[in-house]
């Protein structure tokens, strides 16, 4: 199905385009999804972190990243316990309030709450709700074959929703579109690393996040127009600290928090919405497409607190991210009540201490609204580092 989901943006100057993207991303009513549904399209919502969206797009459905929202979980609260992260409550709220209408919901074994979310969702909606069991032992020689089988199970489920078969050629075509998307997103992050004054962290964020709400072909068109404008942006480098932001793999910090950080520093790399950037290279276009997707998940992927991979110790990967981006310090964060995120803070702090890399520890919640204290603390941190 070919439907244009964004408004006319082609003639907008860069700042206006970024503002428009931000409006779409911050809109909890998911206007692009509504437009898709109004045209008769079906929607598969997938919770954080990684999801093989190619399989959904190959079926002609719209994959939508369910990443919480800055909404009050009036109904969602009543379905969960007191001591939980915000993202599961606000995500469910999007469904219960009718803001986000789906035809299927998929969660993942990223954490204990996320697996429960699939069960809770399933008790409250009549459409299929399930867990896609991404392998938690990526070091097993049997893991790729298993994941290929699990992707095939997903494909069969998607076919039922779509009412049509998903062929290998359909999948290859989708992989090609996503490969282009991955190249464009990598270019965005290259800009952040190489000339961060051209693209602030909150601006890059909205450009990436938009991909979770529209078909990737439409996302590609927008990125292909935006990137040249960013590269030619009239902005001069300033004497700001280069930072890495770590801790945005699942619940997302509010955009205003990122804006606050951007006011006093350059965020040159991060793990924000890492699931949309999980595959770090092109996926092979030939061979069995489900197998190549499964292999890419194992062999050419990023890292996060919710995956244990002997090849990728998280603190080693963080140090690598800092070195490769030329950062001089890190903001290490965790969402409130996020067990894996909070667990990871300790080894991160230890590793950064050992390497003598300054860091700023931050706990956030997607619904937080006050950033004055954060701003003062962060500026003090930066001054301490710069003038120590």
């Amino acid at each position: 199905m070919t439907v244009r989901l964004l408004d006319d943006w082609e003639d907008l100057p860069l700042d206006d385009l970024l503002r428009y993207c931000r409006d779409v991303v911050e809109d909890p009513d998911y206007p692009t999804v509504k437009r898709w549904r109004e045209a008769g399209g079906k929607v598969v919502g997938h919770f954080q972190v990684y999801f093989p969206e190619e399989i959904v797009e190959a079926a002609g459905l719209l994959p939508v990243k369910v990443q919480g929202a800055t909404v009050e979980p009036r109904q969602g609260d009543a379905h969960f316990g007191a001591y939980l992260c915000s993202i599961v409550k606000t995500s469910l709220e999007l469904g219960l309030s009718g803001r986000l209408e789906l035809d299927m919901f998929v969660s993942h074994p990223i954490c204990d709450t996320a697996r429960n979310l699939a069960a809770v969702w399933g008790r409250n909606f009549s459409y299929p709700c399930e867990v896609l069991y991404l392998p938690q032992n990526p070091n097993s020689a049997h893991s790729v074959a298993y994941l290929r089988g699990e992707y095939d199970r997903l494909r069969r489920g998607i076919e039922e929703i779509a009412g049509r078969s998903v062929t290998d050629d359909d999948l290859r075509a989708a992989i090609a579109v996503f490969n282009e998307n991955r190249r464009l997103l990598r270019r965005l992050y290259d800009i952040k690393r190489e000339s961060p004054w051209l693209l602030a962290v909150d601006e890059a964020y909205v450009l990436v996040a938009l991909g979770g709400r529209i078909p990737r072909s439409e996302h590609n068109r927008l990125l292909k127009a935006a990137i040249p404008m960013i590269e030619k942006r009239d902005a001069a480098p300033q004497d700001r600290m280069r930072l890495v932001f770590e801790g945005g793999f699942c619940e997302q910090p509010p955009l205003d928090l990122l804006t606050t950080i951007a006011q006093s520093s350059y965020v040159v790399d991060d793990d924000l919405l890492i699931g949309l950037r999980w595959l770090t290279d092109d996926v092979a276009a030939d061979g069995d497409p489900l197998e190549t997707l499964a292999r890419a998940y194992h062999e050419q992927s990023s890292y996060s607190a919710v995956q244990h991979d002997l090849r990728k110790p998280k603190e080693v990967m963080l140090l690598k991210r800092i070195r490769e981006s030329g950062a001089g310090a890190a903001v290490i964060s965790a969402a409130k009540m996020c067990e894996p995120g909070l667990d990871e803070l300790v080894p991160h702090m230890k590793a950064l201490d050992e390497e003598g890399i300054p860091y700023f520890v931050n706990e956030f919640e997607e619904n937080m609204t006050s950033f004055d204290t954060l701003q003062i603390q962060l500026e003090t941190f930066i001054e301490n580092v710069l003038f120590a």
Partner: protein, 450 residues
């Protein structure tokens, strides 16, 4: 209905000696075995023996026992510190190390234990030589990473895919089941290689088969024990007695002592059922418990219910914390490795299902177990068992005409336990149950009593 029948020795023709030797044996022998187990752990280094850290959901005890590894269950170590009212000092030690107050209390109590060299109220816990765990609880993985960083030991995630959705547990011959099974079987082969390296001994299939035979005896008894509490009166309390049985079920799985223990417990409970012996308190309200017990006030928590005539005839804890052996899966001793893979898949998946989709299982219990109410106990520490409880409660209320109670506390950290608040909620719950019974006696229609 008062069913306190501890005076059964006066039954005509019933010899006192038989009664005294059988009734209460499970708890007495369970305590003795626990002391024995911790003594074994304490002296393991002296004997030059190695230790494997494992968890209750997917312990792989049969395989690890065949390598003569001492099994350390950090969850059980943790709850023992809470029951003995010393968990807070372990937890705060881990918080001083850097762990957040919102991290699982089990994890922090264990880190406190490691930081003080294994010093535990029950003995001295040896350091791990390896950690083996499933992903039935995601925190297992994060927890094992701590040992990996502390000691540089191998840690092995035996990834067992869980239920994809409610009611979807495909079996043999289904393409998705076969895919999961191949994955689990392949990982077990890889684990055996790792164990051979860690222990320096070759895998012995006959030792595995022997351990599996003991496990089969335990499983057969466990399933019967769980069903026996359909008896009126209930023959044991599923939260207190059931938790004692669970300790042995985990600590002695695949061992002759475990098999003998469960045969004796079954004999005890069958005797009690046949002779009408209940628990040591009045039973006016038959309840199911969902979640993990409140260990920091373990005795008092139980008393809040027993004092009001409540008895827990069932507990989801006895399902998932037994590692899903309530599924009744029995090993095929002629095909031990294949069967180990299948048993690991089915039981771990069952444990996950018992946590995530308990609502339907609880509704199915109402009639055979004569449930009057269901108590949901959410704990701050554990997102695995607690995240869905509020929603599960709503579902149970839709599916069945029983009273329900949802309370929040913690299973480890006394700072998150408010005894007075829990008591208020429990008292109100019982008043509701009593009102429901009065209305039922007066002929009010079902559903009007929720």
């Amino acid at each position: 209905m008062s069913t306190d029948t501890t005076n059964q020795s006066s039954r005509p023709g019933e010899p006192d000696a038989q009664h005294d030797s059988i009734v209460g044996r499970g708890n007495r022998e369970g305590s003795r075995l626990f002391r024995q187990w911790y003594e074994e752990l304490t002296t393991a280094p002296e004997r030059g023996e190695k230790a494997a850290y494992v968890f209750v959901m997917g312990s792989l005890a049969e395989l690890l026992n065949s390598f003569n590894l001492n099994l350390v269950f950090p969850e059980i170590n943790g709850l023992q510190t809470a029951v003995r009212h010393v968990s807070e000092s372990y937890i705060t030690q881990a918080e001083d190390y850097g762990y957040n107050s919102d991290v699982c209390g089990y994890v922090k109590a264990d880190l406190g234990l490691q930081l003080r060299g294994g010093d535990h109220p029950m003995g001295r816990i040896p350091r791990p030589d390896i950690a083996v765990y499933t992903g039935a609880c995601n925190t297992y993985i994060k927890w094992a990473e701590i040992w990996e960083r502390l000691y540089g030991i191998p840690i092995f995630t035996l990834d067992v895919p869980g239920p994809r959705a409610a009611g979807r547990l495909p079996g043999r011959g289904h393409v998705d089941y076969d895919n999961d099974l191949r994955y689990v079987a392949g990982q077990i082969e890889e684990l055996i290689s790792v164990l051979e390296n860690v222990t320096g001994t070759r895998f012995d299939v006959d030792r595995l088969r022997e351990a599996m035979a003991y496990a089969n005896t335990m499983t057969t008894a466990w399933v019967k024990i769980l069903e026996l509490n359909q008896s009126r009166p209930a023959v044991y309390d599923a939260v207190t007695d059931g938790t004692s049985y669970l300790g042995v079920a985990n600590g002695f799985r695949g061992r002759p002592e475990g098999a003998r223990y469960f045969e004796e417990v079954l004999e005890e409970l069958e005797y009690k059922a046949a002779t009408g012996i209940g628990t040591s308190h009045d039973q006016r309200h038959r309840l199911a418990f969902v979640g993990v017990p409140c260990y920091p006030i373990y005795r008092r928590f139980s008393e809040m219910f027993t004092e009001r005539g409540g008895v827990f005839v069932g507990s989801t804890y006895t399902w998932f914390a037994s590692g899903g052996w309530n599924s009744g899966y029995l090993y095929d001793l002629d095909n031990p490795l294949e069967s180990l893979a299948e048993g690991t898949l089915i039981t771990s998946r069952e444990a996950m299902n018992d946590m995530f989709h308990a609502d339907r299982l609880l509704a199915d219990m109402v009639e055979p177990f004569g449930l009057d109410g269901v108590v949901f106990h959410g704990i701050k520490s554990c997102r695995t068992v607690s995240s869905g409880l509020a929603d599960s409660r709503r579902a149970v209320m839709e599916l069945a005409d029983v009273g329900t109670l949802l309370i929040d506390s913690d299973h480890m950290d006394p700072r998150s336990v408010s005894e007075a608040q829990i008591k208020n909620r429990v008292d109100a719950f019982f008043e509701g149950l009593e009102t429901r019974k009065l209305l039922a006696a007066a002929g009010e229609p079902e559903g009007s009593r929720r």
